[in-house]
């Protein structure tokens, strides 16, 4: 709208200026011509008086000028350039310019003076001089200025009204369209359609918009359907998995308990008859049963880690690590361990799950460094890029061959004999699964006999 107003204003102003300039030139020329004609008439009428040196006759001719209120003064020069007669009579002769010859005119700021020779039979008898004020010009100028102003004001108002109408016609449909688009993205309801106001370009735009909406609606409904189908499938699989792990937990453990129970009873009731090797076999049987029980328990925990819902909160890492270590008091008895723990940042995580991670890593460090005195365990954190924290647990224990670093995080993967270091081999698999679910990475570095370092990253909270 501002553009429309500015353009029309500028055009009008230029037009008016051009018009006024043209009029000014025409008017000035017209005024010169008028005065010239008059001075010619006066010249013709005063040839006789000049020829006869009759001053009063010449003054009478000039006096006719009093009918014209614009004439300020006038005079007739004789052939020698002296003032011969003048109008009005009370003006001093010195007020007139001296020795004017030829034809000409000149403008001052408030007056116009013309002069022309009086010629009879090819002989110059003298010169007529008339000076007129510019009041008609000034009046016309004022009139033009007023007119131009009125035209500009009137057309500006007109332009404003018209652009209002135009705006309503163009902007309203577009505003309605954008309002509809906003409502759709807010409510996610693709069944809404934009209202069509007219059959012009805006109407075509509305039609195109509505067609696009129909397409999106179709796509989103099939997408929703597909998502629902997939979700149902996933839910079914998940239920099956749950039923499976339930029966594993219940049904596989019972026979193991029976094996161990009856082996124990056998041991007690037949102590004398089974002999030393028989007793050893029984120990092996019950040891195997217990180990299988531990494996089943670990597997269940592992599967639960993958399934259970995550409840993220702000976790104070310092206190979590301190808590893990204090709960390991039993394993730490009789051990000489130098702890080197730096202050660590808060993270956004599922606290029980993250605790599992720290318990696993710290207890591993404690376990695999038990042949060292003192054992040294270093726990550190650092900023790994703008979006991640990196944490590490490092020990000076048994270490491992980097060749097998990739196997460390597998389920039931172990790099040590059970007689050497006990364990099922599920801990690091749990660590990897938990960190993965939090959007982080896990890796390890180590050297046989020198120690191991385990690393994981967690995304920073927002």
């Amino acid at each position: 709208m501002t553009v429309i107003m500015l353009t029309s204003g500028a055009v009008l102003l230029l037009t008016c200026l051009a018009f006024i300039a043209f009029e000014v030139i025409t008017l000035r020329k017209g005024m010169v011509d008028g005065l010239m004609t008059r001075s010619e008439i006066i010249g013709v009428n005063s040839t006789a008086s000049l020829a006869f040196q009759n001053t009063s006759d010449a003054a009478d001719v000039l006096a006719a000028l009093k009918t014209d209120p614009q004439v300020i003064d006038a005079c007739i020069y004789d052939e020698n350039g002296h003032v011969f007669a003048q109008f009005p009579s009370n003006v001093a002769a010195s007020a007139f310019p001296s020795a004017l010859t030829g034809t000409g005119f000149h403008y001052t700021s408030s007056s116009l003076a013309v002069y022309r020779p009086i010629i009879q039979d090819g002989h110059a008898l003298g010169t007529v001089y008339i000076e007129s004020n510019l009041s008609p010009l000034t009046r016309r100028y004022h009139a033009y200025a007023l007119l131009a102003l009125a035209v500009i004001i009137a057309s500006t108002i007109l332009a404003y009204l018209m652009s209002r109408v135009l705006q309503n016609q163009i902007s309203q449909p577009i505003l309605a369209l954008s309002e509809t688009a906003r409502a759709i993205s807010r409510k996610r309801d693709f069944s809404v359609r934009a209202v069509k106001y007219s059959n012009d370009e805006a109407g075509a735009l509305t039609d195109a918009f509505n067609e696009m909406l129909a397409e999106i609606q179709k796509l989103s409904s099939t997408l929703e359907q597909r998502v629902e189908e997939r979700t149902a499938q996933l839910e079914a699989v998940n239920k099956e998995l749950e039923a499976f792990s339930y029966s594993v937990s219940h049904d596989l453990r019972a026979p193991l308990r029976h094996i161990d129970g009856f082996v124990d009873m056998l041991r007690k009731t037949s102590q004398d008859s089974i002999g030393a090797s028989g007793k050893r076999y029984l120990d092996i049987i019950s040891g195997a049963a217990k180990r299988m029980g531990a494996l089943i328990d670990d597997l269940l925990v592992f599967s639960r880690m993958g399934r259970s819902e995550m409840r993220r909160t702000t976790v104070n890492t310092d206190s979590l690590v301190a808590e893990c270590i204090s709960e390991m008091a039993q394993d730490l008895q009789g051990r000489a361990i130098e702890w080197d723990i730096s202050p660590m940042p808060e993270v956004n995580a599922d606290r029980p799950m993250l605790k599992q991670v720290w318990v696993n890593l710290i207890s591993n460090a404690v376990k695999y460094s038990r042949d060292r005195s003192p054992a040294k365990i270093v726990i550190r954190s650092r900023e790994a890029g703008p979006k991640e924290w990196e944490f590490s647990v490092k020990d000076n224990g048994a270490g491992f061959d980097m060749q097998y670093a990739g196997k460390l995080f597998g389920v039931f993967q172990r790099l040590h004999q059970n007689e050497e270091f006990e364990g099922t081999g599920i801990g690091l698999a749990n660590v990897r699964r938990i960190i993965l679910r939090h959007g982080g990475k896990t890796w390890a570095e180590g050297k046989i006999g020198e120690g191991a370092a385990f690393f994981f990253t967690l995304p920073k909270a927002n």
Partner: protein, 147 residues
């Protein structure tokens, strides 16, 4: 004391029955142990009906209840007991292989008094039974009979 009211053991698995009885015996828990082999039988005993119609009056000092049983399972027995004015005061201990959170939550919702996961190792199992017998049959003062 409790005049040695009986313990009701509800367990479908014959091996578990034998091991539990052996563990109780090893630990000198002197109370009589009534064995019900499924939930229905347990309810029959508690309500003195069916095969238990002729039994002596009075409630058991504690019920050791297995979770997973055919037909009427442990949770159902628990639910019925805790909804019955006569039975709801009897302490019930879930004695089960399941560590599933859903089972735990349900049991406590229904009003279980204790929830014990049977350890695989017999030593630990014996120890668990000893502690249970000691606490529920000896230390704990049960609600008076007839209330």
């Amino acid at each position: 004391m409790n005049n040695l009211r009986p313990i009701l053991l509800v367990e479908d698995n014959i091996n578990d029955v034998e091991l539990t009885l052996a563990a109780l015996q090893q630990n000198n828990v002197a109370n009589e142990v009534i064995v019900a082999r499924h939930g229905g039988e347990a309810l029959d005993f508690l309500y003195r009906r069916g095969t238990h119609e002729q039994r002596k009056e009075g409630n058991p000092v504690v019920v050791f209840l297995d979770m997973k049983m055919p037909k009427v399972d442990g949770l159902e027995v628990l639910h019925k007991m805790k909804n019955d004015d006569q039975l709801k005061m009897i302490p019930v201990v879930m004695l089960t292989s399941s560590r599933e959170e859903a089972d735990l939550v349900k049991s406590y919702k229904y009003g279980v008094n204790a929830y014990v996961v049977k350890p695989v190792g017999f030593e630990q199992f014996t120890e668990a039974i000893r502690q249970l017998g000691m606490f529920w049959a000896v230390l704990n003062e049960p609600p008076p009979n007839g209330h």
